[in-house]
């Protein structure tokens, strides 16, 4: 039995619409028009204990809606969710005691309270045993390097500091599952690294199941063993990231600096992408020509000063994938 089971999830919102301008506003007072937005059409997946799953997709694809249903905030129109044997929105109180949630764009700490007071309040709200709380808190404080922040009111923290405190706050009751909705949004590079490192450690050393949504593909590359791509309310792909890359954009790039001006090359399955003086950028499909064979073929005929192979940037892979599936936001 998987820890998280999601079957045929669907959810629609009704959005009030009005024509632009004064006239539209007046008309809206009399007769309101509603538009139905299908946030989720059909989402199914399952997750085993201890997995770390990345959830990606363009804006408006349904990632956050899925997280909100899994965490018990929203109720789906149809479909089934079972998490550790509980239905989140039906057994909400029992369910939420076992999960931790961080929404990167909202705060759960109290703006005017020092971090430590917010933590203490959460201890009481989750009815955590005081001894146990002390141990957990001290460990989280050390892992997230919160020592110097504890006495500061939340409003004085930088975004990166606040996010670390938010993640700590979500874990004080030792949940077995952690939902992270865009935890690295707006963070600078060191803060992103700190968050990634912590999440990885939490997953590997404490066995906490993590489900994370993000637009930062480096989060995915650094963390997720498995990726679900969601678009238009459906699961478009569910596979390890490397498999996704191989399917979508197997192409590699070869950068060659020649000793003289770059020669004309005519090799099967190889395309010249860019030519600049002595340099060439070549695109090739490793399933047709392997990188060593291609390099050997070039160096056999030409004097080469430098050569290196690159994979397409992860953003490029994902953008291509969204394009292939027409998943981009309208």
């Amino acid at each position: 039995m998987p820890q998280i089971l999601v079957q045929d999830l669907a959810k629609t919102y009704r959005v009030a619409e009005r024509a632009p301008g004064m006239l539209g506003a007046v008309r809206g007072l009399v007769r309101r028009r509603w538009r139905t937005v299908e946030a989720l059409k059909n989402v199914s997946f399952s997750l085993e204990r201890g997995e770390l799953l990345g959830f990606i997709g363009p804006n408006g694809a349904g990632k956050s809606t899925t997280i909100k249903i899994l965490s018990g905030i929203l109720r789906p129109d149809s479909g089934r969710v079972e998490i550790e044997g509980l239905v989140p929105y039906a057994d909400r109180i029992k369910h939420v005691a076992r999960i931790g949630v961080v929404f990167g764009q909202r705060t759960q700490l109290w703006w005017d309270l020092p971090v430590i007071d917010g933590f203490d309040l959460l201890r009481d709200i989750y009815r955590v045993d005081p001894q146990r709380y002390k141990a957990t808190r001290d460990e989280l404080v050390a892992m997230l390097r919160l020592e110097k922040l504890l006495d500061q009111p939340v409003r004085q923290l930088s975004l990166g500091q606040r996010m670390r405190a938010e993640i700590g706050a979500a874990l004080l009751h030792e949940p077995s599952i952690l939902f992270l909705d865009e935890p690295t949004i707006g963070l600078d590079a060191p803060s992103k690294l700190a968050v990634r490192e912590f999440v990885k450690k939490l997953n590997q050393e404490h066995g906490v199941t993590v489900l994370l949504t993000t637009h930062d593909m480096h989060d995915i590359e650094a963390l997720a063993q498995r990726v679900i791509v969601i678009g238009h309310g459906r699961v478009l792909a569910d596979s390890p990231f490397e498999a996704l890359r191989a399917d979508v954009l197997a192409e590699r790039r070869l950068f060659v600096d020649f000793a003289q001006d770059a020669p004309a090359l005519d090799l099967p399955g190889v395309e010249v992408r860019n030519r600049d003086g002595r340099s060439l950028e070549l695109a090739f499909d490793p399933r047709i020509t392997s990188a060593p064979a291609l390099i050997a073929a070039i160096t056999a005929r030409h004097a080469v000063e430098d050569i290196h192979v690159e994979q397409p940037a992860i953003e490029e892979v994902i953008a291509r994938f969204y394009d292939l599936h027409g998943a981009n936001e309208a």
């Binding site: 909100k68 018990g72 905030i73 109720r75 109180i93 939420v96 309040l121 009481d124 709200i125 865009e182």
Partner: protein
């Protein structure tokens, strides 16, 4: 004991946080002194200008003056706006976090409203007792002062009735909160509530001074229990059995409005939508 821990913590953290706002308490106090003085002068003009009508009035001038100071001192109990923290949470989406807490959502918001209210109440009522109850008689203006309760039993019944007034006002604030969550906007309902509350609690004019044929209605409607009933118990206009009738009415409205609020919040939360991202 452990079952109540979340609620006790939510109440006390809100209470302590609100107690930090000393400048707001002081400003509120001065405003209330001003309004209190105006009310007292208007009441004095009515009572002294028409002695026969004043003699027939169900409450005397000194009782009406005490009523005014009570109304000003207890102003924080008036349920005329929803909890600003809830309104804020609706706007920022932070109320989704409230859905993630393993607690009863109605009780959590109710105790938070109670903490918010009592923290504003405590400093204001203390300052008002000092000003209208102690300073005014000391400077020879005793006839315009806040008088002590009619008797010891009136004082004890008042303490009970005032506690119920706070509980009732929180139940009304919860209904406002629910409208805020359902409509995603606090302005509309807050603007609607203000005139209702000012008139029907007795804040504008003691309810006993309205025309006879309105009095029964004014006595049994829910807002009376937040101000008028405890006030009348305080100076003995509601005594003995009538005091208990008043307290019974407060209990009735608390039960009714809490039940209504719990049912309604459940419905609103079931079709909650979290917009954008």
């Amino acid at each position: 004991m452990d079952a109540l821990r979340p609620y006790a913590a939510a109440f006390s953290s809100r209470f302590l946080l609100m107690m930090q706002y000393r400048a707001a308490a002081l400003a509120g106090f001065f405003t209330q002194c001003w309004f209190g003085a105006v009310h007292v002068m208007v009441l004095a003009a009515f009572y002294l200008g028409a002695p026969e009508a004043a003699a027939a009035s169900p409450i005397s001038l000194s009782q009406a003056v005490t009523y005014t100071w009570l109304a000003q001192g207890l102003l924080a109990v008036m349920p005329w706006v929803g909890d600003p923290e809830i309104a804020d949470g609706v706007r920022t989406g932070a109320i989704s976090y409230d859905r993630l807490r393993p607690v009863d959502p109605y009780a959590l918001w109710y105790v938070r409203a109670a903490g918010w209210m009592t923290a504003r109440l405590a400093p204001r009522v203390a300052l008002m007792i000092l000003a209208a109850g102690i300073v005014l008689p000391l400077i020879g203006q005793g006839q315009w002062a806040w008088r002590p309760p009619a008797s010891l039993s009136a004082a004890l019944l008042f303490a009970l009735s005032e506690a119920l007034a706070i509980a009732l006002a929180c139940a009304i604030i919860m209904l406002i909160n629910i409208v805020v969550v359902a409509t995603l906007n606090a302005r509309g309902v807050n603007i609607l509530m203000q005139p209702l509350v000012i008139v029907f609690t007795g804040n504008l004019l003691p309810l006993a001074l309205y025309p006879d044929n309105l009095r029964t209605f004014l006595f049994v409607q829910p807002f009376a229990g937040t101000l008028d009933i405890p006030n009348r118990i305080y100076f003995g206009a509601l005594a003995g059995q009538m005091a208990w009738v008043g307290i019974g009415l407060q209990l009735f409205w608390i039960t009714t409005l809490v039940t209504l609020g719990r049912w309604w919040l459940g419905r609103v939360m079931a079709r909650l939508e979290v917009q954008g991202g």
